[in-house]
């Protein structure tokens, strides 16, 4: 039985946008007890589709054609009053970011209980009783304790479980999940995916699951719809689409998903260009009223990067990998231990350090100054170090060519570039200082898969041409396997395991590394 039906839906963008329609002629259907995955890269219109179905279109967007139906009942043209009685009770939603989707000033119990009190008029006692049952169903370890907790006292995975419990509280006919696991660590993601699948099977809910990750699709989908630039380019059962894609775009997307196979090991130089020796960093508790336990972000961490090679530092959030990156480039001072680059300790002076080590940042949108021209941002480092302006600008143009950008685009502002292009500017900016070591902090995790593959290829090519030594921070083992020679697995500020990447991933010695590998979504399909 079809629970949710979308037929020939077209939604117009406000004038002046990069295309006329956000989505065009989109037809989807989700039956009871079925999970439909809507996959696409950023800008494909997948989230707009979801918000239309929830009656939550952003101002400026308007439905111009098509229909939407919930269990046969037309949804288009409902008043906001009618929508309110539908949302939550008949269509529920789980958002990407569980921290911002929960009210920080209400306990978890009050927020879940609100669902029954508002929609069904139950009293507080009955609501609390049901809330405990709901939290037990999403396998929270201590449901009674969680009821009294505030959102910030729970971990990301626990918060997402609470969101799911809230969404399912009123037994909705349709559940919409908008990238619900994107902000979570891999091991937590695997648990949450299993939970969603288990719950929808037990309740027979129709689930529309929005994601950009084909690994997640392989784990959870019954049927798949692939979207591109506002159109559904391919739709079919998960098996069909994943193993025998018909559309070129689907094929390209699937090919861009990196496997966990490391390339054959290269001969590595003996010489260490970067040595981190017993580095310790503690975030102390500050302030009069907030006495927290000091957090040990790095606990006697020692790693070695060989000249001309790439060392991956992998780990989940809170493992200390980003702190390590910031200590290595000198943005953070360590409490103990030392960072040695090319035989000398990292100098505290910024200008001297800038010739030894450079950094590529995670978010290509935040890491460029929106009000300065791209070329100037690349050339400013060398200019400050004493290179004449004309020569620095000429070098910036050469670097633009090197990273695959038009040299004439040095005069453009950052907003005129796409995300992938901006990340190339970030790389050019780091290379402009001709550093001994390049630290890349999650350089591809904010990018779409296809762009991700291009940037990884660029880094590999640059390494071959320039003999770069790269410290590559990532949470994604598949990305690490693509590029890196050696790996250090971190957990809770401690290095769990190091070694050649092929050996570590093929035969992990630590149980933690093994659990990370097993949690990678879609392993069966994309190989491990």
């Amino acid at each position: 039985m079809t629970r949710l039906l979308v037929e020939h839906l077209t939604i117009r963008l406000p004038r002046g946008a990069d295309r006329e329609n956000a989505i065009e002629d989109v037809s989807l259907s989700v039956a009871a007890g079925e999970i439909l995955c809507v996959v696409g890269e950023s800008g494909s219109g997948k989230s707009v589709t979801a918000s239309a179905v929830m009656g939550l279109l952003a101002p400026g967007l308007a439905i111009t054609a098509g229909r939407m139906a919930l269990s046969g009942e037309e949804l288009r043209g409902k008043s906001s009053e009618q929508w309110r009685s539908i949302r939550g009770r008949r269509i529920a939603m789980v958002f990407q970011e569980p921290m911002t989707a929960l009210n920080p000033l209400m306990t978890v119990g009050e927020q879940i209980g609100e669902m029954w009190r508002v929609h069904l008029g139950l009293d507080a006692k009955e609501a609390a009783r049901r809330a405990v049952a709901a939290l037990r169903e999403v396998s929270l370890p201590d449901p009674e304790g969680a009821l009294r907790a505030y959102p910030h006292e729970l971990s990301g995975g626990q918060r997402q479980r609470v969101m799911i419990a809230m969404a399912l509280a009123l037994e909705p006919e349709v559940l919409i999940c908008d990238e619900p696991t994107t902000a979570l660590d891999v091991t937590t993601q695997a648990q949450v995916l299993a939970l969603i699948k288990d719950l929808q099977r037990r309740h027979g809910t129709a689930v529309m699951f929005i994601t950009h990750d084909f690994g997640v699709v392989a784990e959870i989908a019954d049927r798949v719809a692939v979207m591109r630039l506002g159109r559904v380019v391919e739709q079919g059962t998960a098996r069909e689409v994943l193993t025998n894609p018909r559309h070129d775009y689907t094929r390209a997307l699937l090919a861009a998903v990196p496997g966990l196979h490391a390339p054959p090991p290269r001969a590595l130089a003996e010489e260490a260009v970067l040595e981190v020796r017993a580095l310790t960093k503690t975030y102390a508790s500050r302030g009069l009223f907030r006495r927290r336990k000091p957090v040990r972000a790095l606990d006697a961490v020692s790693v070695t990067l060989r000249r001309g090679s790439t060392l991956a530092v992998v780990g989940e959030s809170g493992s200390g990998k980003s702190t390590l990156a910031r200590c290595v480039v000198g943005l953070l001072g360590a409490d103990e231990g030392e960072v040695v680059i090319a035989g000398a300790r990292l100098p505290p002076d910024r200008r001297a350090a800038s010739r030894l080590v450079q950094m590529v940042f995670q978010d290509p949108y935040a890491s460029l100054n929106p009000r300065r021209r791209a070329g100037a941002q690349v050339a400013q480092g060398p200019i400050a170090a004493g290179t004449p302006r004309a020569q620095a600008m000429a070098e910036a143009r050469e670097l633009f060519v090197l990273v695959g950008l038009d040299p004439e685009s040095v005069d453009r502002f950052p907003h005129e570039f796409s995300g992938g292009q901006r990340q190339r500017i970030g790389i050019a900016r780091a290379l402009a200082m001709k550093p001994q070591v390049l630290v890349a902090d999650e350089p591809v995790s904010a990018l779409d898969v296809s762009v991700q593959a291009q940037v990884l290829a660029l880094l590999r090519e640059l390494q071959e041409r320039l003999g770069l030594s790269i410290l590559f921070i990532t949470h994604d083992l598949r990305v690490a396997a693509q590029l890196c020679d050696e790996v250090a697995v971190m957990r809770g500020g401690v290095v769990e395991e190091t070694g050649r990447i092929g050996e570590v991933f093929a035969a992990p010695r630590s149980a933690y590394t093994r659990s990370l590998i097993e949690a990678i979504p879609g392993r069966a399909l994309f190989g491990a």
Binding site: R350, Q358, M359, A366, L368, G381, G426, A430, A432, M433
Partner: protein
């Protein structure tokens, strides 16, 4: 460019610009429209507007032409507003930028000074400054600038606090750039839009402060400011109320123009607000 287009599309901003432009033309053209000393004796005192075609807005209790004073006053009021605002913005931005960028002890010290200024009612402080340093037009303008900077400093500091930890600023640190470059080239241009918008409020308040001083006859009596004219009209308020009312309306219109321009700037420089309308 986008900001300019958004600005020109907003009707309040256009109306505000037209009003301000009119006041500006009045001020600049004062010598051309009314040559000679506006404070000189022109005719019989206290003639109502329209009574004598030579004085379309009448004369005040000393027999001076109100229209001439109004035109010359526009120049004085705008100049006081503009210069005082510049002084306040310079002090406020410098202190806010240093406090926000360095944080810690520097921030604590500079913010305590700012709070010391803020806890005093600024008109009271202005009266003290004028009493101590005298009431020539220069000292009045500087004094208004000195009492108006604390909110600018707080606003600048708040912007710097959020901007200094952004990745692009960190990237510049890694590139080995100096603090001066970071503050002036990287952070300040991004922190400026809300400060510019707030400057319109400072300007409006500066014009009002000068008028209030003049009303108490503590401003420079040798310049034809609107406030002076209102102060002179006070004695004949019950019978010849137009002497105070005419410059009052001029002040009202100017403040309205400045506020509308500020509002328009805010919408234009803050794209999230503009698109939500």
């Amino acid at each position: 460019m986008r900001a300019l287009k958004a600005y020109l599309r907003s009707p309040p901003a256009l109306i505000g610009s037209v009003i301000l432009l009119a006041v500006l033309v009045m001020g600049i053209g004062a010598h051309w429209f009314y040559p000679g000393d506006p404070l000189g004796l022109a005719g019989r005192p206290l003639q109502w507007p329209g009574q004598n075609p030579r004085f379309p807005l009448g004369t005040d209790s000393s027999g001076r032409d109100i229209a001439a004073q109004l035109f010359h006053g526009a120049r004085v009021s705008l100049l006081i507003g503009f210069v005082a605002t510049s002084i306040a913005a310079m002090i406020g931005i410098a202190i806010g930028a240093l406090a926000g960028f360095y944080g810690g002890a520097v921030d604590t010290a500079l913010m305590r000074v700012t709070e010391a200024f803020q806890t005093l009612p600024n008109f009271l402080l202005l009266l003290v400054l004028v009493a101590v340093f005298g009431s020539t037009i220069e000292t009045v303008t500087i004094a208004i600038g000195i009492v108006s900077w604390p909110p600018v400093a707080r606003l600048t500091r708040a912007e710097f606090l959020t901007l200094r930890t952004r990745d692009f600023v960190q990237a510049c640190r890694v590139q080995g750039l100096s603090d001066a470059h970071l503050i002036l080239r990287e952070v300040l241009p991004n922190a400026l839009p809300p400060v510019i918008v707030y400057a319109s409020v400072v300007m409006a308040v500066a014009i009002l402060l000068e008028s209030a001083l003049a009303f108490l006859q503590l401003s420079d009596p040798n310049v034809p400011s609107w406030g002076n004219l209102i102060g002179l009209g006070r004695n004949v308020l019950r019978t010849e109320w137009y002497v105070s009312a005419i410059p009052g309306v001029a002040i009202l219109m100017t403040i309205l123009g400045v506020s509308l321009v500020g509002q328009g700037l805010n919408d234009a420089l803050n794209p999230r607000l503009a698109s939500g309308r």
